[in-house]
């Protein structure tokens, strides 16, 4: 049974369309990436998955079941904007939230201590949230989303505003959740996180899903049209070669845009004639480029 299946959902706010026919499925032990510019409909989608609002059309199924009250305990949510009581102790509010999710007080306490231990901040148990730094508040927020061991975890911009050390720490926690068989819906602007974490993605643009599928397939659909070249000395005359669209010299490497993959071979032979080659790579487009392409092309 698929833990989370979304089938052609539509949502309109008055005459404005927020989500237009979105479908995807998330397996157990999978992190699904939901990408899109601001206002693309990510948050609305997540809210529908959370059961806060209902889709106008289409269905969302949890283990084959439609939304019901019992799903409240099954879902964990990390909102895009941080939400904790600033003046209440970490232990008090997290145990409160866990109790609302159906945990006993004792189990919640244990779970909280375990998570704080994992984030190497056990001393925050008795601190007020307002006394913590932003990065540490984010850790607490993350714990709030997963303290009750939900099957489905929804992370909205989990890593925004964090320093690299904390990003790695949280990333490891997310991977840990994935490996323990959770179903994770993940949204972000940062493509490198997506490439590292997600198997399948949807790129949304103005309420529409524009690119969908697993990352490898998506990438293979885009032709390799870039060559990275580094040689012992400068290579001249690259611009004159057939199929070369542009040449950009970076500090240690030259980037060459090509019209077709055959052009790469011409570049290689041309370069070998002039110098020793240190690096020659035919690049797939990065997810970032695919994102900008799929979103940017439709900007007008």
């Amino acid at each position: 049974m698929i833990p989370l299946a979304i089938d052609r959902i539509y949502k309109n706010y008055g005459d404005k369309t927020a989500v237009n026919g979105l479908s995807f499925e998330v397996e157990q032990g999978e992190i699904y990436g939901l990408l899109g510019a601001n206002g693309a409909g990510k948050t609305t989608t997540m809210r529908m998955v959370l059961g806060l609002i209902y889709p106008d059309e289409g269905s969302i199924r949890y283990n084959g079941q439609p939304y019901g009250k019992e799903q409240l305990h099954n879902l964990g949510y990390l909102p895009e904007e941080r939400g904790l009581y600033p003046k209440v102790k970490v232990s008090e509010q997290l145990i409160y939230l866990a109790q609302l999710k159906g945990m006993t007080k004792k189990a919640a306490e244990q779970s909280l201590r375990r998570w704080l231990e994992q984030f190497e901040v056990p001393e925050y148990y008795d601190k007020k949230v307002e006394e913590l730094s932003k990065g540490n508040q984010q850790k607490i927020q993350f714990v709030a989303a997963v303290i009750h061991d939900p099957q489905i975890v929804i992370l909205d911009e989990a890593f925004s505003g964090l320093d690299p050390v904390n990003v790695e720490l949280l990333k490891a926690a997310v991977k840990g959740l994935r490996d323990s068989g959770k179903t994770i819906l993940f949204s972000t602007h940062r493509m490198e996180h997506v490439e590292e974490l997600c198997r399948n993605i949807t790129i949304m643009h103005r309420s529409n899903p524009v690119v969908q599928g697993d990352i490898k397939t998506i990438k293979s659909r885009y032709p390799r049209e870039r060559v990275m070249l580094a040689a012992s000395r400068d290579i001249t005359g690259l611009e004159q070669l057939e199929g070369v669209r542009y040449v950009t010299k970076h500090e240690n490497v030259t980037e060459i845009g090509i019209a077709s993959e055959q052009a790469a071979q011409h570049i290689l032979t041309h370069a070998l004639g002039q110098a020793e080659i240190e690096r020659f790579e035919l690049m797939r487009p990065t997810l970032n480029e695919i994102f900008i392409k799929s979103v940017g092309d439709r900007h007008e």
Binding site: L52, E81, G83, L100
Partner: protein, 441 residues
């Protein structure tokens, strides 16, 4: 259900442990103690000995009058001596009975200066047509209007006596003339056309005081707890805890959990106040002081307290749900004050009509407003305390109040469900309706 109590407990615990709550409660408790003991404190501070007022016993006459000032002085002295609790004592100042007016004035001033007397009076002609001289009270302090009125009454009496003497009436005839006519007001209960007299006077004062106090308590706690609910909800929204909360517990459970939690906070506060007041009243000193004011707590019927609790509970729910609804619409705490303004005015209006109604409890204005649900908790309670309205009127107003409360609860729940997820500027009614439709509510 367990979620509901979790919310109740969390709300209650967090509020009660807040420093601001503890401090406010303590301050009000101290204030209440002071107010209850005020009559006693005042009586302790004011000396019981009446002011001594001196007069010159000289036999000098005043132009245009055949009345001797010394005689008036002794007349006043006799007048106050006859009283049970005289406010003043008139004394003839030694050394002020010579024929020399300058020496008299000096003697009076001296007596005043070394504290033998608190004030003295001198007399002067009141005009050509007036046979009686006018009196002037001289003292280092300023006497208030009531003192002047009392002295005026005394002087009037002396003057009357003087005038009557010339008519040659017997003492009996004079007494008949002076005996005051009497009026008293009696509240009666009508049962099957039979009038039943109630214990008067004493319980009236107690009623007035108790109704006033409860009215004030109703107003204060409903206003402050209502405000607190709205503030908490807006704070949860602005700190975005709301987003996590709504995914954990249904908005209805959350809203009513909060309202009940805050009700318990309010009840706790009231209980503290009641205990503080009760302890203070049971102290022998303040009991006597209150009795002097004609207030006897035992005269207040138990049913009045039960009605007070009933109206408090329903009134609380009416206002609390509305405050919750309003609070859920506002995203920033700074905007909340403006948003709850209409609710505050309604509440304030009810309270002020109540204060007005204390003095005119059977006016038709008060009767009519007691049926307006938003005012019922204040006004109908006041009428029950002061004029005993027919039972059917109480029932009708209660039914209307309950119906309105349920409607307000239903509407607020709907608004709340929608409002907690709406951010940005406060939505207009139209936007709200649209959002409700979009959220399928």
């Amino acid at each position: 259900m367990s979620n509901f109590w979790t919310v109740v407990a969390f709300t209650f615990r967090n509020k009660v442990r807040k420093k601001s709550f503890v401090i406010t409660t303590l301050i009000i408790a101290v204030l209440l103690s002071v107010i209850v003991n005020l009559p006693y404190i005042i009586s302790q501070f004011s000396s019981n000995t009446p002011d001594r007022i001196g007069y010159a016993g000289a036999a000098t006459t005043i132009a245009g009058s055949d009345v001797l000032p010394g005689d008036i002085g002794s007349g006043l002295e006799a007048y106050f001596k006859k009283q049970e609790k005289p406010g003043y004592e008139f004394v003839r100042v030694a050394g002020a009975d010579s024929a020399d007016e300058g020496a008299n004035a000096r003697a009076l001033n001296e007596a005043l200066e070394n504290g033998d007397i608190d004030a003295y009076v001198v007399f002067a002609s009141a005009g050509e047509t007036e046979f009686f001289p006018k009196m002037e009270l001289r003292a280092k302090k300023q006497y208030g209007d009531s003192a002047v009125a009392e002295l005026q009454a005394a002087l009037q009496s002396v003057k009357l006596e003087r005038a009557l003497q010339s008519l040659g009436l017997t003492d009996e005839q004079q007494q008949m003339l002076f005996a005051p006519a009497q009026v008293s007001s009696v509240q009666i209960d009508l049962n099957d056309g039979q009038a039943q007299q109630e214990d008067e006077k004493q319980s009236k004062g107690a009623m007035y005081g108790v109704v006033y106090a409860i009215l004030f308590l109703l107003f204060m706690t409903i206003m402050t707890t209502g405000q607190l609910i709205a503030t908490e909800i807006t704070a949860e929204k602005s700190s975005r805890v709301m987003e996590v909360l709504v995914t954990s517990v249904s908005p209805l459970t959350q809203m009513f959990g909060k309202i009940i939690g805050m009700l318990l906070v309010g009840l706790l506060q009231i209980a503290v106040y009641v205990v503080v007041v009760a302890i203070n009243i049971s102290m022998p000193n303040s009991d006597n002081a209150l009795k002097d004011l004609g207030i006897n707590m035992a005269d207040v019927p138990l049913s009045l307290y039960i009605y007070a609790l009933l109206f408090y509970l329903i009134g609380y729910f009416l206002y609390a749900t509305l405050y919750a609804g309003v609070g859920s619409l506002v995203s920033r705490t700074e905007e909340l004050g403006q948003a709850v303004m209409p609710l505050m005015f309604i509440s304030l209006g009810g309270f002020y009509i109540g204060i007005f109604g204390l003095n005119a409890p059977d006016s038709s204005f008060v009767t009519v407003t007691s049926f307006i649900p938003f005012f019922t908790p204040y006004i109908m309670f006041l009428r029950i305390g002061m004029v005993e309205p027919p039972f059917w009127q109480i029932v009708v107003s209660l039914v209307a109040l309950l119906a309105t409360t349920l409607a307000a609860g239903w509407l607020s729940a709907k608004i709340y469900r929608t409002g907690v997820l709406m951010y940005g500027k406060r939505p207009s009614l139209k936007e709200l309706r649209k959002a409700m439709k979009a959220f399928k509510l």
